[in-house]
Symmetry: C2
Subunit: 145 residues, 2 copies
Amino acid sequence: MFFSKTCEYAIRAVIFIAQKSEGGKKVGIREVAAGIDSPEHFIAKILQDLSKRQLIQSSKGPNGGFYIGDASRRHTLADIVSAVDGDKVFKGCGLGLKICSETKPCPLHNQFKEIRKKMQVALQSATIGEFNESLNLGLSYIKER
Amino acid sequence: MFFSKTCEYAIRAVIFIAQKSEGGKKVGIREVAAGIDSPEHFIAKILQDLSKRQLIQSSKGPNGGFYIGDASRRHTLADIVSAVDGDKVFKGCGLGLKICSETKPCPLHNQFKEIRKKMQVALQSATIGEFNESLNLGLSYIKER
DNA sequence: AAAATAAAAGACTAAAAACTCTTTTATTTC
DNA sequence: GAAATAAAAGAGTTTTTAGTCTTTTATTTT
């Protein structure tokens, strides 16, 4: 709707991993998939990509898994979204016009400008690390049940 | 991004037809496709559907075509979007969670609530008819070139 | 009534997104 | 150094969305 399915899973996974790996622990792919209700092999692909892009970390072998180091913890969700879906949610025209600008705006240009701005603020205002706090306090959830 | 391609074309087409059919005239499918830069056969399908749903009108035969009557002119873009994409853009969770509510919110719930609200206001605040005025005044555009 | 016009309907194909399965590579533990 | 573990890589399949082509039906004009 706002994001691709891939991106939704990515966001949920990153928040999940950040929370689970707070004390330096690592999380296996199976645990991530179960923890965010996503298809296992699909989220594996997504995490591989995020790992390549240094947005999360991983290590192979026994006791290996995914984790998020201190540096990556300072990233925002906007970084994740940009990496997965590109910047269309921050920039693209709401009506899909290639040319849509201040000087040649679509009929919804001004309204969408505000919506995109709000989106950007929402995704940039808090770091990955900060999201954990609300999860830890039981103020928000990333799993259905 | 926010809407499906089908929905983007639908919105553009409805605005276009509303403008072109202001004086009781009708617009052929070819003119619509050219006017909003969309594939001809594809927009034909979309308009068929909108016509069935009474969001636009059509008539066959010579001098036939699509038009928007006075009653339909009072619809808003929200009606078009709901008809084509359903209400996910107004209701669904930003992270794709099936269960996401005030009592069990996702980490972005409150921010997205505002964004969806803004979206709804943007699409509901002006009727199809009202959009024409800004087009007629050259204040907005629905075509690239 | 025949010819012309234009949308409706139906049956497709193409491309993208979502998802799965198998094999390989790196790392650790015994 | 062999066995076990876990991610990386690669090569698929399935489903959905986007887009095309052909035939039919309704209406109008001559």
